[in-house]
Amino acid sequence: MSFYTSFGTVLLLLAITAPVALAFGFGGAMAARSRILPVSWLGKAYIAIVRGVPDIAFFLFFVIAFDQAIEWLRHKALCPDWTDPIRQGNDFVVCAEAKMPLSSAAQWVHEVYGFGLAVITFAIVFGAFAANVLFGAMRAVPRAQMETAEAYGMSHRQAFWRILVPQMWVYALPGLSNLWMVLIKATPLLFLLGVEDIVYWARELGGSKTAKFTDYPHGDWRMWYFLALLVFYLLFTKFSEVVLEKLMVRLSHGQATLAGEKQRKAKA
């Protein structure tokens, strides 16, 4: 049963991460094009750092780092009279009340917490890439559009929200759809983060519990589990491609681009 829910876990992760990463990306892009210098540095640094490092290292790093940061903060707040050092040699020790989640908590709390960490990690990494795409898209909107907005007396903020944001999506979509494909393909990394996803189950089902394959008529099944996963991902990718194509056609409607112009001519 948990094997089937693990497919749900992957879909859920995608459903939550995509909007969150998009929000991170939007924030990052807005920061990067900010007129306040330190803010724009911050945005650009965020984009540059995350993009420069292999993301699998990021995944391994962030989850532990996050976990320790949260526990350390709770430790400072909850146990002020704890005198032992937190790092005892190779161990990271906090008082029992600061454990996250509490060791008395139910199993599902642990799972949700792990899942939450995974979502945040994915969102930070993919947010940086989304920020880069959106930053490019904002600059791709024809300058004349913004100048017209200024000529009509719109303030910076108004021009941004009413002119730039609605128009940038068509420029951002190719990059974002690329990102979506990559995000789909990144989900197996969940297994590294200790969430019980499909890779975990595929290993588990064919794993040590049925070590003597010779007893079974079907032999080693793990190969077929992974083949099934491969097909699952291929179908998912194909499906996304079709949907994104449709979306692109919709977004191009009425835009001052080649595709938009084609639509206009086809109608006329």
Partner: protein, 268 residues
Amino acid sequence: MSCWITIQDYALRSIGIGERLLPKEDFTLCQQFTLIGSGMIWNVYFGVVALLAGFFLATALALGKNSDNRLLRKPAEWFIFIFRGSPLFIQFFFAYFLFLSLKKLSPVFAPFTAAWLGALVTLFFNTAAYSGEIFYGALRSVPKGDLEAADAYGFSGWKKFRKITWPTMLRLAWPAYTNEAIFLFHATTLVFFSGFPAWRQKGDALYYASYFADKTFNPFIPYPILAMYFVLLTLIVVTLFGLVNRRLNRHLPQGVRRKIRLRPNLIR
């Protein structure tokens, strides 16, 4: 123990030369730097060999996908779709278990279950598919005028391809291909985290980095070291590819030359 002795003991540890036992406690910075650097040997090996071999298959795939002959086009299209449409991570797992079952049929496949060959083959196919798509895109955008000029000069067949089409294709594809190369090196870190076992703890850089992180519960030292190594590696790759790019563009006037825009990709 001085740092020099550590380097002597562990610098070639990842290929089985030197001290057998990994350090167990009192980890020094020097040990971490040496072992993680030692692991980089594998990353470089996988990346370089897969890239060199993949280059030729990629050219063949691009030509196949561009072919008018269905028998050539369909296999190339499917190959590219399968390897680009599914996560590399799953491909590694699948390949490992596939080779395991093949091993039972014939001992010829025994070396394929080891990382040095099995993972290499997977990476080779994967990078061939991605670069094949890049080359295909470039092949389609070879200027019509160039080909007409080649016809006018009496080039045909192999000579036209070798002297005109192929160099132009490479020139157009090179910036994207550079990114693919960088990305391939990043992807090599996945090898020992998928099915392939690190025999006698001979692993790659990330393997040792996560070893240290596991033992010390402190991700803040090994992962930044890993990141530093990868930034260095990326810089080297960029420099080498930049030199090739200069050579490919040497006949063009300064202003027209295409600069390589760095766009490190993400997970595949």
